[in-house]
């Protein structure tokens, strides 16, 4: 089988992609959003008429205030969610909202959200990532418990997690580019995307592992690499198609869906794409590599 024969090439491609993503993380540090580092909330009410939301949005895009989210409230007011504002930025915000004094307004409420919520979220995100990874290793080790030869079942779990990390790290690397060039910020949805990739990408890997499991049961005397190759041949199309349907809806979500979930959809699309790639070109070849290393050490 082509992929198994050339496994070193494909494994190297994955390694290079992962290294590039990690490098990108250092070159362009991620912009952290309101959810994690706190932020400000301002409520204003205009005395006579309220300027159009789109106009204000456009002006705010030109200012250096980070992401500013404007939501209408009541008849004449706006709630403005923004980053933590110092006094100068705060007055700039008010000046902009009043269109340099053209639309007189009254500030009804100004609050700044402390970073403690963000710290808690960070802690929770880290715990969740660790728990998901552990749960998946354990689950795969359990699901594949009946095959322990030639490669023990917990190694299937480990390989699934290696490819899972691969699937999460590469989209994060791509996200640093979005963050750098388009100002995308790390928010709660970013964490959700990362954690969802963990779940979705491994389900793809399992489709192929399941076939290996079935073929191993039937063909005891075949060489392991041949069994894996045969299983890949039999199941890579369905692995591609199951991801394809998810990618279709994700792209639909990206192009037509709400503004607030655009980057989320894009990151998940990348996750699904590399998830499929890793299921075919990384996880199974790694299994064969492990088996070969085991044989050598004997």
């Amino acid at each position: 089988m082509f992929i198994i024969k050339n496994k070193k090439i494909f494994l190297s491609i994955s390694a290079v992609l992962v290294l590039c993503s990690v490098a990108l993380l250092f070159i362009f540090p991620l912009k952290i959003g309101i959810d994690f580092k706190g932020g400000a909330l301002t409520e204003v009410v205009y005395t006579s008429s309220r300027p159009a939301q789109a106009d204000l949005d456009n002006v705010f895009k030109t200012l250096d205030l980070g992401s500013v989210l404007i939501q209408p409230t009541g008849e004449l007011g706006y709630i403005v969610k923004s980053l933590d504002l110092n006094e100068a930025q705060h007055s700039l915000l008010l000046k902009t909202l009043s269109e340099n004094g053209k639309s007189p307004l009254e500030e009804k409420d100004f609050n700044s959200i402390g970073p403690s919520v963000g710290r808690e979220l960070t802690r929770k995100a880290i715990i969740a990532i660790i728990l998901v990874s552990l749960a998946i290793i354990l689950f795969i080790a359990f699901a594949f418990r009946k095959i322990s030869r030639p490669v023990s079942s917990w190694k299937y779990g480990l390989m699934a997690v290696v490819s899972l990390l691969h699937d999460v790290i590469i989209p994060i690397g791509l996200f640093t580019l979005l963050s750098h060039f388009y100002g995308a910020e790390v928010d709660t949805l970013f964490v959700v995307a990362a954690l969802t990739i963990l779940g979705l990408s491994v389900s793809d890997t399992i489709v192929i592992f399941d076939r290996i499991r079935e073929n191993l049961r039937n063909a005891n005397k075949e060489i392991f690499s041949e069994t894996v190759g045969k299983s890949l041949n039999q199941s890579y199309m369905r692995s591609v198609f199951t991801s394809l349907t998810v990618i279709i809806v994700l792209l639909s979500l990206f192009f037509f869906g709400p503004e607030s979930t655009k980057y989320f959809a894009l990151m998940l699309t990348a996750g699904m794409f590399f998830g499929t790639y890793s299921s075919i070109f990384l996880a199974s070849p790694l299994l064969v590599l492990i088996e070969e290393l085991q044989n050598k050490s004997k």
Partner: protein, 453 residues
Amino acid sequence: MLKKIIYILIILILGSAVAFFVFKSEPKLNPNFEAENSFFKNSQFRLGLDLSGGSHLIYKADVSGVPGGEVSASMDALRDVIERRVNLFGVSEPIVQVQNSGFVSGEDEKLIVDLPGVRDVEKATAMIGQTPLLEFKIEAPEGTPQEVTIDKDGKVVLDVESQFVSTELTGRYLKKAILEFDQTTREPKVSLQFDDTGTKLFAQITKDNIGKMVAIYLDGAPISTPVVREEIPNGQAVISGSFTPSEGKLLVGRLNSGALPVPITLLSRQTIGATLGSNAVTAGVKAAIIGFLIIALFLILWYRLPGLIAVIALCIYIAIILALFKLLPVTLTAAGIAGFIISIGIAVDANILIFERLKEELHSGHTISDAVSAGFHRAWSSIRDSNISTIISAVILFWFGTSLIKGFALTLGMGVLVSMFSAIVISKVFLLGATFIGENKVARFLFSSGLSK
């Protein structure tokens, strides 16, 4: 054969009924919505604060009685109590955040409460206002100035407030409250059981104040001021006061649903408009429809007859999920809608696994009906195992998440569960029923897939 057709009819009828319910209960789809009965009217989608607007409340917490190092722990406890409180009142996806004091945010410790869809601010503040504040105070040291006021009748009134000072023991350390009746007087009394920390604090307080009064304050007023006779190490206190059994029952209910560790006052209340949200809803619906159409087209072109069946199963799946969103109900946020849209993509995964297997069985020379049975049987393990991993992620996300994450995890997790059902039950019944077209060339063409003839 008759049996198969009956199964198909049953599923079609049930599916249509579910779809009919979704249609009837949706004001945008049903022109006669106003005339429908209350069951349909009460089953609209529940939208989150980011989509529908809602109430945004800011409370100031009075932490003057809390030692400096424990302020943040008290605020966390306060947040938990309020969160439980609003959950109890059926507000889903409330967001309760602590806003610590600081240079920019001001000197106050605040609590921010987002109540999606709650436009009646009065009702919202009332339900939070019912949360009891339970405090234990001890006698002020001798020599503390006593405040005395003279009321309008000319009587001298000693201000009780200045007689007592706060302790660390508050409703935060309350484990549970029970209504009991005094064995001799038959008077109702409320007995309190503290948690471990509360038990230690209470033991210390009673030990230090033997012979003195310990005042139990409810909502800022002393409700019971017993004299301590001996140290109480088991963490049990009794409030016996002048209340009726029904008042006592009410109090127990309030205390058990969470007592406040610190007093709070409402600073600001807002309702959030929904234009941005309605745009997001429109975009979400559009994305879902377009995604669905492309997938339907792909399934029919690639998998032919089974593909068509998968599309019908997918329609029923969508109807079931939307009905569940309405009935449970699930509060939909932008992230929740995204989770639902993704679940449409995942829902057909099981079908694809089955159809690919079916194709394989056909190639190896099985008859169509054998191939269908074998396809389902042999694809099952991969469907089960691959979906379980997604469910694991969804469950952990739900467990650990903030309200935004919970909305997504819930819609995704529900989607995966229901889609397994739709693939295994609905697709299977249809596909087995479709085998009646026989074993000729046309049938084999219809059951093949991809580019093959």
